[in-house]
Point group: C3
Chain length 258, copies 3
């Protein structure tokens, strides 16, 4: 840090299992990716190339190289996986992961209907090739999954080999974990937490109010995802109690850690 | 494209008459314009320097050169035209188009009242100098133009020499074609389409939900405008059925084109 | 300007006491700061490093150097001041201002409760070291300060040595001067203006509709703050009557100044 303030909550260090920030790159240029890393590099743990944007960005090879040089893992958004599955081309997807030397992959069913056994089988197979993140929740705002089912899905996916499970929110933060207004389905989150350890979950939380809500509930070192590149620094200040929203939340706790 | 997925809808190629993406530059730096083109270049067909931003951006000459070198046509937003007209300086406007070697110009009346005969006369005169885009719709949310009049205005402007007519939405997507909430005036759009060929229209659609609506109605190769630079890649994935919003819309059609 | 339009309202020149634009940098990279200045440099008067972002951005020294080279003053957001005060480390804060050769500082109490005498004492002390901006208004949407009290606070802070007083809005424009919807508390603003000269106030106004409202009320040369870097050019066009929103507001006035 640039200077000493004192009474700052402890943050986990890289490689983080907890306190993890996943950022979403939806088409950055090489120079924009470099700029992003030059300020947010210490605070971002993994980058998702949103949905299937990797298919159309002309600079894919170079950008992967930029993230690799900065030691930031990258993965393709789950919608790309689904695009291959719906075309019955899972093997081609696996070859593409190899071609681009990907070390992480997402398995999701946000845009297609897939028997959950089959999803878990994909997780199992991919877990032999890469580190798997799997996502629970639909991209369709009308498909409400009850809490007990979120829990069952998450458990089964972790048993199948998922490193972490992601709670769906999309880029907008208006489905899955959230109502269409962006409000957190707090009952859902709290019920999930009775059964699944928080460090195994990445909560997609693109809106500031959503990030604040999770940090107030679970502390500085909650795993958050779908953070826009230019919001990684603001998020870090919220985690540290250095923005108005969490200004008073960590003072006592931080004092105790001194 | 970076890899093969299969069953991707056919996209028109440049120079496109249909399937056209017009992006809005509201003050990019030279380097930002280069970055934008380095990823979105293949997908952007024309760039508008929004309203009169060209008057105040210090880097105008250099930026025009950057777009020219990338073979991306540029035009000044219609509000600049109107600023000259309201000051009774049409000839000065024509000289400025020449000075900057502009090959396109927009004629609009979104901020001023102008007899439509006069607007068509400006179109006629400018069409001898440049390729003209003309815009229909007010920037004033309270001025509702009924559908039959949209059609009459568009027809007259095309007869006067407009290459394409633009449906107004502003940067925000909350006037003209849209209600103040951003919702599409779907009856208006559908009525326009009974009389005007879709390829002659550029629909300003800055919000994702608006882009999705038009793509679902008119297919991958609808002309869309006022796209923010960092939304050109996301838009392209929506056109290709590779984002959740249109994931299932093109699978059958694409299969048939194989 | 790039070309002549005519009948453009007079804008004050740097160093401006009025017609002032304060931009918010919440974590720009060095190159992004350079890009920002390359287009907005002539129009931005001062840059705030939002809240305590300066604590976590790795490029602080270099970025300060970039702004310094461009002759743009910079200050740390008031939340950083408050973070030191709540930890009882005011002297450390003063040393940090010296360490980074800051020539401006903000004194605020948006996130903490502080007796107003004490706030004024901080202003008094800091005014011996730097130029002080002080901010009135809470970051808590539920803390409504009545107009007469805004006036009393502003007067006392100016007497204590504040160069200008800032009306709070946050990055979102949804507290302090504004309702949670972003609507201006117009009665509050108008009452303040009966007692405090407009040129002593910087109105935080991040949303376009808020900027338009103040420019319509107070003219092109109103002091506005919390402007996002990529909104400085758009704001300048609104000040000049060259965007739809203020297109008709300055035509007569400008004609008279010719």
């Amino acid at each position: 840090m640039n200077y000493e303030i004192g009474q700052i909550p402890n943050r986990t260090q890289k490689p983080r299992q907890n306190g993890f920030t996943m950022a979403m790159d939806k088409g950055l240029s090489n120079r924009e990716a470099e700029d992003f890393l030059s300020v947010a590099g210490p605070y971002v743990d993994i980058v998702k190339l949103g949905w299937a944007t990797s298919y159309v960005t002309p600079n894919l090879d170079q950008k992967l190289e930029i993230y690799r040089a900065a030691n930031i893992p990258v993965y393709f958004g789950g919608t790309l996986f689904e695009a291959f599955i719906v075309r019955n081309r899972f093997d081609d997807y696996r070859r593409i992961l190899d071609k681009y030397k990907m070390q992480y992959a997402e398995v999701s069913d946000g845009s297609i209907d897939m028997p959950h056994d089959q999803k878990c089988e994909y997780i199992r197979q991919l877990a032999g090739q890469v580190t798997v993140l799997s996502e629970v929740g639909s991209k369709d705002a009308d498909k409400i999954i009850p809490p007990y089912k979120w829990i069952a899905l998450m458990k089964a996916e972790m048993e199948a080999g998922s490193w972490k499970v992601i709670g769906e929110a999309r880029e907008g933060g208006n489905v899955g974990l959230f109502r269409s207004t962006g409000e957190v389905r707090s009952g859902l989150v709290e019920e999930i937490l009775t059964q699944i350890p928080s460090e195994r979950i990445i909560w997609e939380a693109p809106q500031k109010s959503q990030q604040v809500w999770f940090i107030k509930l679970l502390g500085s070192n909650v795993n958050l995802g779908n953070i826009a590149p230019n919001e990684v620094i603001p998020l870090e200040t919220i985690r540290l109690g250095l923005r108005g929203d969490t200004f008073s939340d960590f003072l006592d706790a931080a004092a105790e850690t001194k």
